[in-house]
């Protein structure tokens, strides 16, 4: 038990030190101090934001955007990835296109999308969906590509039709990579959500909140939002991992072997 305690103690040295430095900078006053709000105030603001529903409202707005985009972008990625994985001629033409477009940093599309669709939620959703689309389509296709030749042969012995091969061999075989794709898509969508909210801060959301706080020099609000973004990102990923481990319990990696 004491071993664990010392671990925690040692691990806490750095954060404690940083917190002390922070508090010192906040109290010192002077030119730079507006950037450092005292820790006590951060805690107060946290409670306030929670109580007046601001925090949860922003959190929910961002989360909703991410999940919706995951549905749209991830869903289309799944469909296209499956088609590309099953029909090789299609993938020869389409995959290079996807790879070409993927080179553009995702937020770099925003000015273009804004010019086409204006500044509204539609533009934001499109961009975040795009962020979810790429990893999904690529990993799904890879998943189908990776279908084990040996198992396909076994299927041939039982006269599997094309559809049966997909349903009983290729698709389950692709699931681990499909999940990888979805989990990457979730991460990217969450990041892209914050990104578009930072750049287009019209509606509610954690990113919007941060930009407003930056303008009014409310570092305490910024810190709270950063914390939320991090925690939420972690929870989303963790939740997905648990789902994956359950659905793929037959797969070696889910069982922690190899």
């Amino acid at each position: 038990m004491s071993r664990r305690f010392t671990s925690v103690l040692i691990g806490g040295v750095l954060p404690a030190l940083l917190a002390l430095l922070w508090e010192f900078a906040a109290r010192r006053g002077g030119a730079a101090s507006y950037a450092f709000t005292p820790i006590g105030q951060i805690a107060d603001s946290f409670v306030t934001m929670l109580q007046n529903g601001m925090l949860l409202g922003d959190l929910w707005a961002s989360l909703r955007r991410t999940l919706l985009a995951l549905l749209i972008g991830g869903g289309s990625g799944l469909l296209l990835g499956t088609a590309l994985g099953i029909f090789r001629p299609l993938s020869i033409g389409v995959s290079p296109l996807i790879n070409i477009f993927r080179q553009v940093p995702i937020l770099g599309w925003l000015p273009l999308i804004a010019l086409w669709l204006g500044n509204g939620d539609g533009a934001r959703l499109l961009l975040v969906s795009l962020a979810a689309f790429y990893p999904t389509v690529l990993n799904t296709q890879k998943g189908f590509d990776a279908a084990d030749r040996k198992l396909i042969e076994a299927g041939m012995l039982y006269q599997f039709s094309r559809w049966q091969r997909v349903r009983f061999i290729a698709l389950p075989s692709a699931l681990p990579l499909i999940f990888t794709g979805i989990s990457q898509a979730l991460s990217f969508a969450w990041i892209a959500t914050i990104g578009v909210e930072l750049l287009f801060s019209a509606s509610a959301g954690l990113g919007t909140e941060m930009v407003n706080a930056q303008v009014s020099a409310r570092t305490d609000i910024i810190m709270i939002c950063i914390l939320c973004v991090g925690v939420m990102g972690f929870l989303l990923n963790h939740g997905l991992m648990l789902t994956r481990n359950h659905l793929l319990r037959w797969h070696r990696s889910a069982l922690g072997e190899g």
Partner: protein
């Protein structure tokens, strides 16, 4: 010594008493083309297998024995010559000809029962018949209690038995086995050999098994086909005229084993080309 259980199997019959599952191979040859040169993988294979017979095939690496099985089962259609099942030429794969691979190739995302069930996908059978076939075949291979286990939960021997159940559930006329016990450790192998013999005796299916293990070939087979490599040919066919179930200690088996090993290890002329010759060290 009637060990035949009352088994609900269409072609159930004492070995060699059934009328289906006769395999006739005539003039079979196969070539691979590698970088312009033609490699004779199999040359002029002639073999007649009686219904319900258990034929073992042994031979060194490169003698084409696995290729022969794949041709019989239809996973490969590129050959010259004739392969007939009960008089009809074979075309491609068929539910009448099954195969057990060395790696069990069970679908990892399905339970054992489901693995066996999907083999029946393309036989339009009523539900009860399907269920009874699955249950009876799992019992046959001794996995009755493991219907809901996933392949990763099974030991090597159990997984292979599941693969055998899957291969037999369609009640094929012929079952090919490609080094089915090769991936198992020595102790498990001995046990599963006995199991395989029992399964064959109960099911009565014609079986053609490729193996590296001469003991195994003799223990299980009514006849042992000895092949020689480059090009793949049948060197000799040894009759094992002993009743089933076999006694491992039988001197007949030992005598035959010596004969076969002699055939396998004696290579005329260029056989020593691959060996490293160490200079003889003078005694000091």
């Amino acid at each position: 010594m009637d060990k035949y259980r009352n088994f609900n199997h269409q072609t159930h019959a004492a070995p060699s008493a059934g009328s289906t599952g006769a395999v006739r191979i005539e003039n079979l040859s196969k070539q691979y083309r590698m970088g312009g040169k033609a490699l004779n993988v199999l040359q002029d294979i002639d073999l007649s297998i009686r219904p319900g017979e258990f034929v073992s095939i042994v031979g060194p690496s490169g003698c084409g024995k696995s290729t022969l099985l794949r041709l019989i089962v239809g996973l490969d259609s590129d050959f010259t010559g004739d392969i007939r099942l009960d008089g009809k030429r074979i075309t491609g794969t068929s539910l009448e000809r099954g195969l057990v691979f060395q790696d069990h190739r069970l679908f990892p995302w399905m339970t054992v029962a489901r693995n066996v069930e999907v083999a029946l996908l393309n036989q339009k059978l009523p539900r009860e018949r399907r269920e009874s076939l699955i249950t009876s075949h799992l019992e046959l291979v001794g996995l009755a209690g493991f219907a809901d286990a996933y392949p990763h939960q099974l030991s090597g021997g159990m997984a292979q038995r599941a693969a055998i159940a899957r291969a037999l559930v369609n009640e094929p006329k012929v079952l090919a086995l490609d080094e089915p016990l090769g991936a198992l450790d020595a102790l498990t192998r001995v046990k599963v050999q006995a199991e395989l013999q029992r399964i064959w005796m109960e099911a009565g299916t014609t079986m053609i098994m490729v193996t590296h293990d001469v003991d195994e070939a003799l223990f299980l087979g009514d006849r042992v086909v000895v092949m020689s490599p480059r090009p793949g040919r049948i060197a000799q066919i040894v009759d094992v005229d002993l009743p089933h179930p076999r006694d491992r200690a039988s001197p007949v088996l030992h005598r035959l084993k010596d004969a076969i090993l002699a055939e396998l290890t004696a290579e005329p002329g260029k056989g020593d080309a691959g060996l490293v010759q160490f200079p003889v060290r003078p005694r000091s």
